[in-house]
Amino acid sequence: MIEFSNYDIIRNLIFAAQWTVLLSLVAFIGGTLVALALTALRLTRNSILQKLVAVYIELFQGTPLLMQMFLCFFGVSLLGYEISAWSAAILALTLFTSAFLVEIWRGCIDTLPKGQWEASRCLGMSFLQILRHIILPQALRVAIAPTVGFSVQVVKGTALASVIGFVELTKAGTMLNNATFEPFKVFAMVAVIYFLLCYPLSLSSKILEKKFNVSR
């Protein structure tokens, strides 16, 4: 049997944590892009589109992320395509992230007084001009803190990719546990690494919130 020293465990966990970071980054960027598109759809005054976005949000916020992972994993293969756990996890996390970000950003855009939209329209600005010059600069300031805060959920969400067999931090933890039979130590280390990844994000979200609240 191979002996695992503490150093070996930590080294392996940190190696796996790189995949957690990568998965989080890709999912967060993907989620942001999808959420931007959905926010644009929501801002058009088409009630059917708005309703579709609302259904999308309800579907992804009302079902467990784990189910979404399973559905992406098995659903795509049902269509006849081979899908790796990595791609399924990215797909599921992207959809999940976008559903929450759209809702967060909606709140941010809605905090702006309606009069601003009306005033800009009276000044003869086009829809895109209003967005570009009036709405986005203000909404972005409000949105940045909760968005950074939500990125913590994305990092934690990647832990579920372990269930469909993608080897990231949590999966590496269970594998190391099976090899070393030291669950207390291994899972404590896993938790610490997640904490080290997430806490700076939480903290910066809090700082950003304070900073932008003062300036308003």
């Binding site: 009302g62 079902t63 559905l71 669950p183």
Partner: protein, 220 residues
């Protein structure tokens, strides 16, 4: 391509899983909110040490994934002599998780109560406990009730992970069924919809309870 007929013979498996998920959710919602309330009061009105302890607890839980917390409790604790059944481990993990999130939420509610009200209660000779239960709690909870509702639903959805330590809840049922009839997509789709239904129902039930709890506004 999709065929749901193979799921019918397993409807009682799904139903059993659903019941377990509901039981877990009801139990841990109560326990979690109770823990959250206690911690929020400590965090808001306690001394420096309890405050710091609660703050670390909240940050620790909020910055680690639920599945790792669950594994730590179920696999890790027995190594130091704390043996738990899967059911006990899940109840503890869910309660601790909801407790941490609801602490933050409830604390925001407590913080929204004007200081003058607390002082007024003190001047009227009310004890701290009386002030809490008769002056602070109702308006504080009313303010954060929607956020608390959402958090309870999020924890319910998170409970899907518990299938990983073989508690026979809804996701476990889905895993079982798909391993028998190989209809993975169908069984997970049905399960996802069941969760969606549960989430909607929870929101509805919370609304009803909220109406009753905070009905004093209309009557007075």
């Amino acid at each position: 391509m999709l065929y749901f007929g193979d799921l019918l013979p397993y409807s009682d498996v799904f139903f059993g899983g659903l019941i377990t998920t509901v039981e877990l959710t009801v139990l841990t919602t109560f326990l979690g909110i109770a823990l959250g309330t206690l911690c929020a009061v400590l965090r808001q009105y306690g001394g420096a040490t309890p405050r710091r302890i609660v703050a670390s607890y909240v940050e620790l839980i909020r910055n680690t994934p639920f599945i790792v917390q669950l594994f730590f409790i179920f696999f890790g604790l027995p190594a130091i002599g704390v043996m738990l059944t899967p059911w006990q481990a899940s109840v503890i993990a869910l309660t601790i998780n909801l407790g941490a999130y609801s602490t933050e939420i409830i604390r925001a509610g407590l913080g929204s109560i004007p200081k003058g009200q607390v002082e007024a209660a003190k001047v009227l000779g009310m004890t701290f406990r009386q002030t809490l239960t008769r002056v602070i709690f109702v308006p504080a909870f009313e303010k954060i009730y929607p956020a608390l509702t959402s958090q309870c639903i999020i924890v319910m959805l998170g409970s899907a992970v518990i299938s990983q330590i073989s508690v026979e809840e809804l996701t476990y049922a889905a895993n079982l069924v798909q391993s028998r009839n190989f209809r993975a997509f169908e069984s997970y789709l049905v399960t996802a919809l069941l969760y969606l239904g549960l989430a909607m129902m929870m929101r509805y039930v919370f609304k009803l309870i909220g109406k009753r709890l905070f009905s004093f506004r209309e009557s007075s």
